[in-house]
């Protein structure tokens, strides 16, 4: 195994090649993760999803609601319970598979190694305890501190996340915090165990635009100062692109496309990603002007073949609606799961296939490609 450690002065998360062989094992490796919910229907929330995260990287997971992004990270930390079940795949955290791991193992990882920030801050706090008490609970779960020390730690954390007058606010109840403050407090709570990876599930959704900016800055600072890795989930491309070097676009429980921020924003390959970008007039604007026609797939009875084909402008009948599309690898680590870049596609899209390097079918057959002829 070649050991190409990046030069010391390069920021850890600024990789132009998304698939750097850093040499070290990835911090988090999700492989073929499949999670289903068994209610009166069987809902395939996450269908064979794979991704990797290296230490110090920032990964963004983008998609509409129902795309499976939340469920996939919840599966990572073992928060999926009845009627949901992880049916297949593995989640390797620092080499150990967390799927089916013992409760003790999960507990040792949660908080101390992986921290999670939820969407609705007030809902994530127990309204019957003060914020301070709950942060202390997070602190003492993994660290052996006296009551006074833990309380001071909580105050320090509140200060670190930018809450003014932390001594005054530490004994307040969650409902006494404003939306933005509560979000910061929740971040503080997630940091209490000093985790290496922070997962943020829609952390800015529902907040005022001005407050969002503050939270985004906070994340940026925290990641840098604490040298943490970050997985950020959002349907808001603008937020993700401000923080994450690499991105994953999910649709219908599957990964549609992955690549660096630049690749996805400037040269998206997957029709869904393109449509997604087109539905935002300007990356920084928050209004969704042009919605993608149709509606998100019913995961209880999903479309055959490519999940997106019913709404895809360039889908080819007979091809895209039959089998799961292969993963097409492009240069520099960008990948998209789409038939339009394969031989045999005779649909309307006239995509540039010059950059295709490899086509991997869903079963794993790989085909190196020099040229794809149409």
């Amino acid at each position: 195994m070649t050991d190409t450690t990046p030069p010391a002065d390069a920021p850890a998360h600024d990789a132009t090649d998304a698939r750097t062989d850093g040499g070290d094992e990835p911090l988090l490796a999700v492989k073929n993760l499949t999670t289903r919910f068994y209610t009166d229907q069987t809902i395939s929330a996450v269908d064979s999803v794979s991704y990797e995260l290296r230490a110090g990287e920032t990964l963004g997971i983008v998609g509409e609601s129902g795309s499976g992004k939340s469920v996939s990270v919840r599966s990572v930390v073992g928060l999926v319970t009845e009627p949901g079940r992880i049916d297949a795949g593995e989640v390797r955290w620092k080499g150990t598979d967390l799927v089916g791991a013992s409760n003790r193992k999960l507990r040792s990882v949660r908080g101390a190694e992986i921290g999670m920030v939820f969407q609705n801050a007030e809902a994530a706090f127990d309204s019957t305890y003060t914020v301070g008490e709950q942060i202390v609970e997070a602190v003492t779960a993994h660290r052996d501190l006296s009551k006074a020390e833990a309380r001071q730690e909580a105050i320090d954390l509140l200060e670190e996340v930018g809450i003014g007058d932390p001594e005054g606010r530490v004994d307040d109840y969650p409902h006494e915090y404003s939306g933005g403050m509560a979000q910061r407090a929740m971040i503080a709570m997630a940091l209490a165990g000093e985790p290496e990876l922070l997962i943020a599930d829609e952390p800015t959704t529902g907040l005022d635009v001005s407050i969002q900016a503050g939270i985004i800055d906070l994340f940026r600072d925290l990641v840098a100062e604490r040298e943490m890795s970050l997985v950020l989930i959002s349907h808001d491309l603008g937020v993700v692109s401000q923080l994450c070097e690499r991105m994953l676009v999910m649709y219908g429980g599957r990964v549609a496309e992955r690549g660096t921020r630049r690749q996805l924003l400037t040269a998206p390959k997957h029709p869904y990603t393109r449509a997604f970008l087109n539905s935002i007039p300007d990356v920084d604007a928050k209004s969704t002007a042009e919605a993608i026609p149709g509606s998100p797939p019913n995961l209880g009875d999903p479309p055959e073949g490519c999940r997106f084909h019913p709404r895809c402008a360039v889908a080819e009948a007979g091809l895209c609606d039959h089998e799961r599309p292969p993963t097409v690898a492009f240069q520099a680590g960008q990948e998209a799961d789409c038939y339009a870049y394969t031989e045999g596609y005779t649909g309307e899209a006239e995509y540039d296939v010059a950059e295709v390097t490899e086509v991997r079918s869903a079963e794993g057959e790989t085909q190196q490609v020099e040229e794809v002829s149409r």
Partner: protein
């Protein structure tokens, strides 16, 4: 924060006063509604007319109704519940001597019911769908379908007569003899507490089931705490609405204690009440009903205040 709770308590107290006044009017009115001349009812139709007249005057029957009521209210507020013409005893004395007993019986029921309901409701919710849950649900249904006096009889048959483990009748004050006193309170406590236990079990189960779906529990889990700790969070939240149910059930306990005292021959206020009814001792009846009701109202007041206290959202700023 404490001041807000106090505020709430005072506000509720002020609300309770008119209710109590209404209650006393109702009681007063009811007793006055008894057909026939109260004096005759009490002394008998063939009593000496002069005595009858004297009694009527003493009872204030010659005055107008509102005046009678105010006289009555005034004396009640001063602690004078009147004097029974049947027993010739001050009602307040009779009540005072029996009040501790009734309170013990009620407390026994209360304790038993919570001791059963909290584990049962929690288990039922946490182990939803299993045999434990079915047992809990069945208990919840049966508990409210069994009349408490019959339960008492059956328990007496089983434990008192056949097995002879526990005393069949009577009472020993736990204040004088804790162990014996408790022995005498076990069956009454179980009998009285079962229905309330069933109701609280059901309520706790349903509240806890809902609570266990709440998002904040995932956040708690993500701190890496143990599952029992997570449960404590859920229970604390689930218990808050249950507190109000407990308060309502206290009324049932008070009323039920009357019957339980009869079933187990316990010399409390309840037996006094039943005796008063059969001997047409309306003055005692009046006083007793007032005492019971006042207790109930005050307990409800306490429960409401506790609920307000427990729910930080209602409390406002701390």
């Amino acid at each position: 924060m404490a001041s807000r709770v106090q505020e709430f308590f005072v506000r509720r107290l002020l609300w309770a006063v008119p209710v109590l006044v209404l209650v006393s009017v109702i009681i007063f009115g009811l007793v006055r509604m008894v057909p026939g001349d109260p004096a005759v009812v009490m002394l008998g139709a063939d009593a000496d007319p002069a005595r009858l007249e004297a009694v009527r005057q003493e009872l204030g029957l010659d005055k107008s109704l509102p005046v009678q009521y105010f006289d009555y209210a005034a004396s009640v507020v001063q602690g004078d519940l009147g004097r029974s013409y049947i027993t010739n005893q001050q009602v307040s004395e009779a009540v005072a001597s029996r009040l501790p007993t009734t309170l013990f019986v009620t407390a026994a029921g209360f304790t038993v019911s919570l001791l059963v309901a909290i584990p049962a409701g929690t288990l039922s919710a946490v182990k939803r769908g299993t045999a434990w849950d079915s047992a809990g649900l069945t208990f919840g249904l049966l508990g409210v379908s069994i009349p408490n006096f019959w339960l008492g009889i059956v328990l007496l048959l089983l434990f008192g007569v056949n097995l002879d483990w526990l005393p069949v009748a009577g009472y020993v004050s736990p204040l004088e003899n804790p162990i014996e006193g408790l022995r005498y309170l076990i069956l009454p406590g179980i009998t009285l507490g079962t229905a309330m236990a069933a109701i609280v079990t059901r309520m706790l189960r349903s509240e806890l089931l809902e609570e266990l779906h709440e998002e904040y529990l995932d956040a708690v889990r993500m701190k890496g705490v143990s599952e029992p700790r997570v449960l404590v969070h859920a229970m604390k939240n689930a218990f808050i609405p249950v507190v109000t149910v407990i308060g309502m059930q206290f009324g049932y306990l008070l009323g039920g204690s009357i019957i339980i005292e009869v079933v187990f021959s316990i010399p409390g206020m309840g037996r006094l009440l039943i005796g008063a009814i059969s001997s047409r001792d309306y003055i005692t009846l009046q006083g007793l009903v007032l005492v019971y009701t006042t207790f109930f109202v005050l307990v409800n007041l306490l429960v409401d205040t506790t609920y307000f206290y427990l729910n930080p959202k209602l409390r406002g700023d701390g």
